[in-house]
């Protein structure tokens, strides 16, 4: 990471999750379905961590789209995985994130692109992203874009 003042609210969000014995399948690696569960768990923590200051730590939202790339298996020697979340697009009612799942050794095992939609449970329809949340997402997106540009040159 480069020097200078860092605003933790715009840095990629990263969390550590427990890998359960029941997550492994007959091949001795984490079953593909479980990556969606890890991704969801990380999004819950992300929402709580980033939106709580607006009283929206439980912001109602739903998944619109999930795209997964499985790059390498998570094997039995990983008792935890890390999940990183970067914001890549912010729309009116939806936002898109990139999630990266790392094994205990720090290797990338899986990447996901997920579109989340702000949601009103009483009408089961999408709503505009509340402004406080939007600001947080926009700042995180810009930070992610600058970081990517920097690493690309």
């Amino acid at each position: 990471m480069s020097g200078g003042a860092q605003d933790p609210a715009v840095e990629p969000f990263r969390c550590t999750l427990q890998v359960r014995w029941a997550d492994f399948d007959q091949f001795g690696h984490v079953n593909n379905v479980k990556y969606i569960e890890y991704a969801q768990e990380a999004r819950i923590l992300f929402t709580r961590n980033r939106f709580s200051s607006f009283g929206l730590g439980n912001l109602p939202q739903v998944v619109r789209r999930t795209e997964i790339d499985h790059l390498r298996p998570v094997m039995r020697d990983s008792t935890t995985v890390d999940v990183e979340i970067e914001v890549i697009h912010v729309g009116t009612t939806s936002y898109e994130i990139r999630q990266t799942i790392y094994d205990s050794a720090g290797d990338v095992c899986c990447t996901l692109r997920v579109v989340m939609v702000a949601f009103d449970p009483s009408t089961s329809s999408s709503v505009e992203i509340p402004s406080g949340v939007r600001n947080v997402l926009e700042a995180a997106k810009q930070h992610a874009a600058i970081t990517e540009q920097g690493s690309g040159t």
Partner: protein, 161 residues
């Protein structure tokens, strides 16, 4: 900045108590997906959490019963759900000991409490499991080794609290 795995389960973890009253306590994080429509941990997921809790007690490398990881089967499971466990109660605390240690079969006891419930209060879940050592090659039960038996016997006592 990494949000670390929080294992503060509201009480001491690992092995505690004198021989004859010895228990193993494990902390288990509750996943969002463990909840059902009623906003509490689903009964079937609770069994998965209890299964997971037995791993640091019995199956991790370096533990005398780690050899059981190569083959151990559940022959009977009794789960009493006395109270609800919510996502916010996690990480849950699972206290475990042996009620009986036979030649090839043990009776494991488990008490599950939320992070905010002290051990002096009744557990939310009370679970008794009969687990047999099993040889996957021959597909038959096998006897405990001396080392396995000795370790299990350290945790053997009948009633608890």
């Amino acid at each position: 900045m990494t949000e670390q795995l929080v294992l503060d389960a509201g009480g001491p973890l690992g092995i505690s108590g004198e021989p004859g009253r010895r228990v193993y306590t494990a902390a288990m994080p509750v996943r969002w997906s463990d909840q059902d429509l009623y906003h509490h941990v689903n009964h079937a997921r609770m069994i998965t959490l209890i299964e997971e809790a037995r791993i640091p007690w019995l199956f991790e490398d370096g533990i005398p019963t780690a050899t059981l990881a190569a083959g151990a089967v559940m022959t009977d499971l009794n789960v009493k759900y006395r109270g609800q466990v919510k996502h916010a109660d996690g990480p849950i605390r699972v206290r475990m000991w042996c009620e009986k240690v036979g030649g090839a079969l043990m009776i494991a006891r488990h008490e599950v409490r939320g992070r905010h419930t002290p051990d002096s209060e009744p557990p939310a879940v009370d679970c008794t499991a009969r687990i047999a050592a099993f040889d996957l090659q021959t597909q038959r039960p096998r006897r405990f080794t001396t080392a396995e038996r000795e370790y299990l016997l350290e945790f053997r006592h009948e009633a608890e609290s």
